[in-house]
């Protein structure tokens, strides 16, 4: 098999060809600045508005509540820092979880250096926060709860609606990083009681470098990026028209295909998990088996190290990840896997496979065969495995 097998859709997705097609006219033909007054540019303003309304509908939000950004990371930074700034009169306490993406964690750490206090909630062995602990963590000075919708490594989906309810009861704003969830599972901001939500186009078939922040009407957070009057004066900078158009198209398709896609991915994923668990000993699946993104499988293979596994998979044209892509090159094992209670050595030996609708059973079979072969090879090479066998 010479063709590459892409199993890293949580890192980024292929931009759909329909999306690229939708974007193309906005580079060389309809290239005007949407803020310009003339007809030629106003068609671009219209295109931006159309995208905004597609996306608003997908979230159950109003168009005026959607603000385009340069990506999910910017959205997270904006939501958290601007809330901290705008509500500093009320308090200086923020609640988050130990398994957030670094876009949230490092932003919280930045705020800690600037006089804010942050509570990092624990998660259970499946990666779900404890609602009791959340309730207890709320103080009179708490201004924000920011808990991710679904985890990028282990795919666990949080009890978002319950969190929204608790936030509302305590009159605290609730932001959720839905970068991995939006487009994969249904998200309705009103039903779920979400006040702010981050998303990123490239995780759902759209282009890189474009994201959004949903801000519920009435929330008085200010700009994070100051300048021109774009995005209703809340996010300055010339609008990335092709990116916004592409984001809209990608969301449109993602929503239309969501059910069928999820069904197909869940079937393939469960087949993958079943085969791996059955055929490779000393292996576990990380994350909740039910409350989980349709396309996420995360394994730990005892006695072996993840990077070696990844490189060998790569030699077999299989693209996979050992954790979040952003931290590869780092020597620390994933903070998410440690938070769910894995010992370091096990955390080091983990593998994330995230599917798309384009993957086939044939690809999965080939992948499992290769994983089996490689795990076997690496275990033969492993002093930990040697000790384990000898001790038996």
């Amino acid at each position: 098999m010479e063709k590459k097998i892409y199993l890293d859709n949580a890192a980024t997705t292929k931009t759909r060809s329909e999306v690229v097609e939708a974007m193309l006219p906005y580079f060389t033909e309809k290239f005007g600045n949407p803020s310009s007054i003339y007809e030629f540019a106003s068609q671009n303003k219209k295109a931006v508005d159309e995208s905004r309304s597609i996306i608003a509908k997908a979230l159950g939000a109003d168009s005026s509540e959607i603000y385009f950004t340069g990506g999910g990371t910017e959205s997270d930074n904006w939501a958290i820092k601007a809330t901290a700034d705008a509500y500093s009169q009320k308090g200086n306490h923020i609640i988050t979880s130990k398994i957030e993406h670094h876009a949230v964690l490092h932003t919280c750490e930045y705020l800690e250096k600037h006089g804010y206090e942050v509570t990092y909630l624990d998660v259970d062995e499946n990666g779900i926060i404890k609602l009791d602990q959340l309730k207890k963590a709320i103080r009179p000075t708490t201004i924000l709860i920011t808990i991710m919708f679904a985890n990028n490594e282990i795919g666990t989906i949080q009890p978002v609606k319950e969190i929204g309810k608790i936030a509302k009861e305590h009159n605290v704003l609730f932001h959720t990083d839905a970068v991995q969830a939006f487009g994969q599972v249904p998200v309705d901001v009103n039903d779920l009681g979400i006040d702010m939500l981050s998303a990123s186009a490239h995780k759902l078939g759209g282009p890189k470098g474009i994201g959004l922040l949903y801000i519920r009407k009435g929330i008085k957070i200010r700009s994070f990026i100051h300048g021109g009057a774009q995005e209703r004066q809340r996010r300055a900078g010339t609008e990335n028209v092709p990116g916004i158009v592409g984001f809209g198209k990608a969301v449109e398709i993602a929503l239309e295909t969501m059910d069928a896609r999820a069904q197909k991915e869940i079937e393939l994923r469960d087949y993958l998990i079943t085969r791996v668990l059955k055929e490779i000993p000393y292996t576990r699946v990380n994350g909740d088996r039910l409350r989980r993104l349709p396309n996420n499988a995360n394994f730990s293979f005892q006695f072996i190290e993840g990077e070696s596994l990844l490189i060998m998979l790569d030699m077999n044209h299989i693209c996979a990840s050992s954790g979040s892509a952003c931290t590869s090159g780092s020597l620390d094992p994933s903070h998410v896997l440690l938070a769910i209670g894995l010992p370091h050595e096990i955390a080091h030996g983990s593998l994330r496979l995230t599917l798309s609708e384009e993957n086939t059973k044939e690809e999965i079979d080939y992948t499992v065969d290769k994983i089996k072969e490689i795990v076997d090879k690496l275990r033969k090479m492993s002093p930990l495995y040697e000790d384990f066998i000898k001790r038996r």
């Binding site: 190290e305 070696s308 010992p343 370091h344 080091h348």
Partner: protein
């Protein structure tokens, strides 16, 4: 990110395996950091390293440096083996990414640990030989499967 030479040693590691009743065995690193290297030495009565094997738990660079280190010590005298530095290992591999340089240090340490074991067993003192820093097993953790 790796040189061709690193990839070549990673794909086809030299001297992977165990030596029964080895003259010296050394294990360094720990699972917490994600690398463990074990080196087996078969040393003859003249102090010449007749055979060497390794086992490694770790990243691509860890495997490749282990493989290269075994190549470098094979056939050498004990005194020569002590002189092999991590730089020599890294250079022999055409270089390592900065974040991976610690792997070559680990390889150097593993050689020393195996030689230390050999020296202890035989009541020898080898010039330039360092006592290995830590034992891996101290830090091992358990998990239910």
């Amino acid at each position: 990110m790796y040189t061709e030479k690193v990839m070549e040693h990673f794909s086809n590691p030299r001297n992977m395996g165990e030596i029964e009743n080895a003259s010296g065995v050394g294990t360094v690193g720990n699972a917490k950091c994600g690398d463990i290297m074990r080196i087996y030495l078969d040393i003859d009565e003249n102090g010449i390293i007749q055979d060497v094997k390794f086992k490694t738990f770790g990243c691509g660079a860890a495997v490749a440096t282990s493989s290269m280190a075994t190549e470098l010590v094979k056939g050498k005298t004990v005194q020569e083996a002590v002189q092999i530095t991590n730089k020599a290992v890294a250079e022999a591999l055409g270089g390592l990414p900065p974040v991976k340089m610690h792997c070559s240090l680990l390889a150097e340490e593993a050689i020393h640990a195996a030689l230390w074991d050999y020296a202890e067993k035989n009541g020898l003192k080898i010039e330039g030989l360092r006592k290995p820093k830590s034992d891996v097993h101290e830090e091992e953790e358990e998990i239910e499967y």
